[in-house]
């Protein structure tokens, strides 16, 4: 059916405005994950991106109390942002402990499991009879922080990015970009793109073509700058020519955060918040979630629980501890029952003995009685 052009306008064109009102009232829900070794500036970047102190910087007093278990933790920080009466419920997921240990084998398992678990829990909620109140913690975007070595990606980076790219929108980011001179940075970016292409790592891409010329050019500009080099800073410093900007103050100059020549922070912020946030959310819902659902539905029926492979040693330890406690308690109960049984037996024996005693007493009395009767009865015969 060919679309029919309505003449003077009956108000169909007002639909986007209605949608705008509905969305503006309900607000948005955005989940961002930052992944990378410690000391690359993840916390600072988040605080810089949203220009508020969402996450407090690391405290150093407790670093000697680290436990012997070397696992990657998942930390969730929730915040609610408001701009011009529009709310965004923001969740930031941090992965402390990733890549910090001598042996980092399988250190990506907690992260991958977390992402899959969010898809899983959303899927289960969808299959419930009542699905009005869905809590959606699916990760919309994952920023992977690359160490600015200047050479190439490490094997650990490649392994993790491969696995992340198929499950979530992955955006690689070069951290602490003020380590490298512009020529070094350019070479490094090229190397990373080559490795990403050769290793078939799926990164986030978005449609470049759009309605107006300006957006297309802007989109191409942003895409060309991947992977983004960033500098994070929440402090205001004064530059040589007197401006007050957010930046880092060195004894040889000031590296500015918002300066396009110094780093790609502005482009990344534009991508994440201003222009493509909705695309990130919808691509997560449409592409990644559907891929997951598709894969799961092929082998499972509706309502069945997921087959879990528990590889986390911490869980095994807890399981062991629980089992031990359980057997302990069972043993205690059994002992109690046994002693109770013995008490009962002792009681019964005692009562039996008393009964016996009574019996013999009665017999004795009966014997006496008979004797007395026998003694009595011959007397009347005499």
């Amino acid at each position: 059916m060919a679309p029919v052009q309505v003449g003077a306008g009956i108000g169909i064109a007002n639909l986007p405005n209605q949608r705008h009102k509905i969305v503006a009232k309900s607000g948005a829900n955005f989940t961002l994950m930052v992944c990378g070794e410690s000391g690359l500036g993840k916390t600072t970047f988040i605080n810089t991106l949203f220009t508020t102190s969402i996450k407090t910087p690391k405290t150093y007093k407790r670093r000697y109390n680290k436990t012997a278990e070397k696992t990657v933790e998942i930390e969730i920080i929730r915040a609610e942002l408001e701009e011009k009466q529009f709310n965004v419920k923001l969740s930031v997921i941090d992965t402390p402990g990733f890549g910090d240990y001598t042996n980092n084998r399988d250190s990506w398992m907690p992260i991958i499991d977390f992402i899959d678990d969010q898809h899983e829990s959303y899927m289960r909620q969808e299959q419930q009879p009542k699905r009005q109140e869905l809590s959606d913690m699916r990760v919309h975007c994952c920023l992977y922080f690359i160490r600015p070595s200047g050479h190439t990606l490490k094997p650990l980076d490649i392994e993790v990015m491969k696995r992340l790219g198929t499950r979530v929108n992955l955006i690689p980011v070069i951290a602490k970009a003020d380590t490298m001179t512009p020529t070094d940075l350019h070479k490094f970016k090229k190397r990373i793109l080559e490795v990403i292409a050769a290793q078939n790592i799926q990164c986030y891409t978005f449609p470049l073509e759009s309605d107006d010329e300006a957006s297309t050019k802007r989109n191409m500009n942003i895409m060309a700058a991947m992977p983004f080099s960033i500098i994070g800073s929440t402090d205001d410093v004064v530059t040589a020519d007197g401006r007050t900007v957010k930046g880092r103050q060195y004894s040889w100059g000031v590296a500015e955060v918002e300066n396009e020549d110094h780093c790609d922070f502005k482009k990344l912020r534009q991508l994440l918040i201003r222009t493509h946030m909705l695309d990130l959310i919808s691509s997560t819902e449409e592409t990644h979630y559907e891929t997951y659902r598709h894969a799961q539905m092929e082998t499972r029926k509706i309502g069945e629980a997921k087959v879990k492979t528990v590889t986390n040693p911490k869980w095994k330890e807890e399981e062991e501890a629980l089992r031990k406690r359980f057997t302990e308690q069972v043993r205690l109960e059994e002992n109690r029952f046994r002693s109770w049984e013995q008490q009962l037996i002792a009681e019964r024996d005692r009562l039996n003995k008393d009964l016996e005693a009574e019996h013999s007493h009665i017999k004795a009395l009966e014997a006496e009685l008979e004797a007395m009767q026998a003694g009595l009865s011959p007397k009347p015969r005499k």
Binding site: Y60, N103, K154, K176, S251, N259
Partner: protein, 333 residues
């Protein structure tokens, strides 16, 4: 020896220290092979330096591939094995009956460990490595690529690293001095160097023109970082300490203290278990080497004798010929 994860400026530092292109830049391999983990490699390079008129033959051992793999337990063993092999060579050389006068002392006198400039504190791999290697070598911790950190961050970072080193009892080379014995100058100098630990380093090979002078510096859009400027980094001080003032001290400690400890441990270990196969194999190995040397010496002697014999024969021939000529002459005359 320089040890550190890749990308921390080790190679550049070596080239900057020697003021020449000693170590070739890492050639990045094919992108398709980037996911293959290479093990750690140990590469020694020898350079002749001239420090204030004193000639130094500097051997730098680079360790590319350290800390790059997903599981890095193996790296420690490799480096430790290399250090102990050098000690073993010296030990067997000392115990030999006939010592080789041209024996080259390959013991490593100092190890510069590059710490990543995270800004937080020491990581597990840093602590493990320094702990395991400090009984065998002088460990000097340094911060690579220190132009990542602002001056206040750098001061905090240094403080936290020194706290960590104390907390985990890691014996590093901290420019020891004795307040009573040494003179004031030494005390002051060592105290100052100790306060600078761990040294903040920046490496750069290119020269650019700053204020009309040619300096080694890195050019950023927001400024220029000079390598030799003491306010920007501690490179100049470290170079002076390593190659001039504390060179002898490092060698002395290596020989008198670390080597002696190793020797004691090794000999008491082999005295305890004489019947163990391990020490037998080592003895056999040493004996084999000695036998080889002896055989070579014998061969040389045989060749000498042969040459002498040939010479004598030639002499006799010439004599006989001379005689003949003389008789001919006598006949003619």
């Amino acid at each position: 020896m320089v040890v550190g994860a890749s990308g921390l400026g080790r190679t550049t530092f070596i080239n900057t220290l020697c003021d020449a292109d000693v170590v070739p830049k890492r050639e990045c391999d094919e992108p398709e092979m980037a996911h293959i983990e290479e093990g750690i490699k140990i590469k020694p390079y020898t350079v002749e330096l001239d420090e204030d008129g004193v000639k130094i033959s500097l051997t730098v051992v680079d360790t590319p591939g350290f800390g790059d793999m997903i599981d890095n337990e193996y790296c420690f063993q490799e480096i430790l094995g290399y250090l102990e092999r050098q000690y073993d060579d010296i030990l067997s050389e000392e115990s030999r009956i006939k010592r080789n006068p041209r024996f080259r002392d390959n013991r490593v006198h100092a190890l510069l460990y590059f710490i990543a400039p995270t800004g937080h504190s020491l990581r597990e791999i840093d602590i493990e490595l320094m702990k395991r290697l400090s009984p065998r070598i002088n460990v000097i911790p340094v911060i690579g690529k220190s132009d990542t950190l602002t001056p206040s961050e750098l001061a905090d970072f240094k403080k936290r690293i020194m706290e960590d080193i104390e907390h985990y009892n890691i014996p590093i080379y901290n420019f020891p001095y004795d307040p009573e014995e040494d003179d004031e100058e030494t005390v002051e100098e060592n105290g100052h160097l100790r306060s600078l630990l761990p040294f903040a380093l920046i490496g750069c090979e290119e020269e650019i023109v700053v204020n009309g002078r040619k300096v080694r510096a890195r050019q950023y859009p927001w400024g220029i970082v000079e390598v030799d400027n003491s306010q920007h980094c501690d490179f100049a001080k470290l170079r002076f300490a390593l190659l001039s003032s504390h060179l002898q001290d490092l060698k002395d400690i290596t020989h008198d203290y670390l080597y002696e400890n190793y020797r004691t441990e090794k000999l008491s270990r082999s005295a305890d278990d004489l019947s163990e196969e391990g020490s037998d194999e080592e003895d056999q190995h040493a004996r084999m080497k000695e036998e080889q040397l002896r055989k070579e010496e014998e061969k040389l002697r045989e060749i000498e004798l042969k040459v002498e014999r040939e010479l004598k024969e030639k002499q006799q021939e010439l004599w006989a010929k001379e005689q003949q000529l003389q008789t001919l002459e006598a006949q003619q005359a």
